[in-house]
Amino acid sequence: MSGPGTERVTTPDLSVTLGGLELAHPVLNASGTFDVIEARRRFGAAALDPFPFSAYVPKTVTLEPREGNPPPRVTETAAGMINAVGLQNPGLDAWLADLDALVDVPVPVVMNVGGGRPEDYLEVVRRVEARLAAGAGAGERLPDIVGYELNVSCPNVGRGGLAIGTEPAETERLTAAARALTGRLLIVKLTPNVTDVVAVARAAADAGADALSLVNTLKALVLDPDTLRPFLGNRTGGLSGPAIKPVALRMVWEIAGTLDLPLIGMGGIASGRDVLEFVACGATAVAAGAVNFTAIDAPRRIVAELREELAVRGLSSLADARGRALG
């Protein structure tokens, strides 16, 4: 008989528990990189069966509609891409009016909330809670909105976003106020654009966050090669993709080594091996982002590869790999 590590496991257990939420596997989508409604329109419902993610995170919703930044907004960079979309979205009222479109999403939905002022974030949470309570009271069929991800880390908006997420005190205040408004899962999405990510993470944890997701994009600049002027309409943008994976891994590793709360790792995840590395650094779950732009079946491939990565290591569950890089 061979011991663990030498024997191939046929069906490793990929299930994870994220702040009380049971997920079939650890791969979520990063907000803004996959739109279930648009994907259905383009490719049909059959292309999303089985659903590629274990939980669905829609694009950031803000209280008021946001036009977003002037184009150009995206371009490829070495091993990644840069974007400065600027949280274009129709605003909370329009989002709530279209809530029906998410009813058939077969996995839990985590609403990603952005804003200018802290009060805007809170008003979104307040109104969503009221809407869900009213709908539930009326016996309405509602999407399975299990929680919120507070986007305090978008580098592409003038106010809010980074201005909150780079300040531990601001992050703590907002998280505590949001905590008071909801019993649902509360996730704070952290920025890598700080000197001490653990300080911000601790502030969110102390204020009652159930989990942290990290990292959002790295603030970056790309020039137009002909004019030598900033290429993006917003001038600066956010770098994502495999280029930032080592930065994200380091930050997950630092926080997991210090704090005891579930982490959703993100930043350049493109393969099952990448997922395994984030989990080894202490992440409970992960979110795939830029890779979603390369193929609709990318997340399913990643999950299949993760199973294989565990199997060849003789690991019977993802939990067995968690935190291996720590200590």
């Binding site: 739109d35 274009q88 390369t294 193929a295």
Partner: protein, 274 residues
């Protein structure tokens, strides 16, 4: 004040977009033929799922799978022939260079057909105005107009003789060429050529090319009392409506080139001076 006469409505474009609903495929498709026109490549792919539902003016997102992270690139459908689709590729950056270098038996990762396409049903006669690689969708358009028996003229503008080799990728009877340096066809721009060739009353102008060409075409069409549509190019990440990376400023706010377009009525666009 900013209206064009006899224009098919935005609703026509929207319904063309709707017609493309839930018909795209994401998969791998093999290159079965490659032709070179100077540095440009015309790739023929066996892609029955795409060919069966494609409309003129639609595009695909394509890449050559390999090591490392690469976004797919938007490419117009140059033409559709039975179960085959053709893509005309200009090697520009790293992604398009790799695509243009794809050879027979190579497999492309591809999603499509995507976008709205040109609304061809309500047209009586058509002038096609193409610039550079923006000529790419016009073989498909010309084939569809020919099948409908609609009178059609095409004017293509290129920078120089090298770029004008693109014209070899087209089989259009009534095709006029211009180059900026006069090395092929008339000296001047596609719009100057369009002005010279002219279009009958009630003709529709379908344009695709660089932004300055589109702005000039629209200005000329307006002056001549012609309605029309422009197909836009944009940097895209997803190409499928998720990321909001490819927007263009229009009279209806920022619209996504990938799903609200790439074809927009001249009326909708806020292109340069109008």
């Amino acid at each position: 004040m900013d209206r064009w006469p006899d224009r098919p409505t935005d609703a026509a474009v929207d319904s063309a977009a709707q017609a493309g609903c839930a018909t795209a495929t994401s998969g791998s498709f093999r290159v079965i033929e490659r032709r070179s026109f100077g540095r440009y490549a015309l790739l023929t792919l066996l892609a029955p799922e795409v060919a069966a539902v494609a409309q003129p003016g639609q595009f695909v997102m394509a890449s050559v799978p390999g090591e490392g992270f690469h976004l797919r690139r938007p490419l117009s459908l140059h033409s559709v022939d039975g179960e085959r689709v053709r893509l005309l590729v200009e090697p520009r950056g790293e992604g398009s260079r790799t695509l243009a270098a794809a050879g027979v038996a190579d497999v492309l990762s591809l999603a499509g057909p995507l976008g709205s396409g040109f609304p061809l049903d309500d047209l009586s006669s058509v002038l096609l105005v193409g610039g550079g690689i923006g000529t790419a969708p016009f073989q498909f358009v010309a084939d569809a107009l020919g099948a409908r028996g609609l009178p059609m003229t095409a004017v293509f503008g290129f920078r120089d003789a090298d770029q004008a080799r693109l014209a070899g990728a087209f089989d259009i009877d009534d095709l006029y060429l211009a180059t900026d340096d006069g090395s092929v066809g008339r000296r001047g721009t596609a719009v100057e050529l369009a002005r010279e060739v002219g279009a009958g009353p009630g003709a529709s102008v379908l344009a695709c090319g660089p932004a300055p060409m589109l702005a000039a075409t629209r200005a000329w069409a307006r002056e001549a009392g012609l309605s029309g549509f422009a197909s836009l190019e944009a940097h895209m990440a997803c190409g499928t409506g998720s990321c909001h990376g490819c927007v263009v400023r229009t009279r209806r706010g920022f619209l996504r080139v990938c799903v609200d377009g790439p074809v927009f009525s001249f009326d909708t666009l806020a292109l340069g001076p109008s």
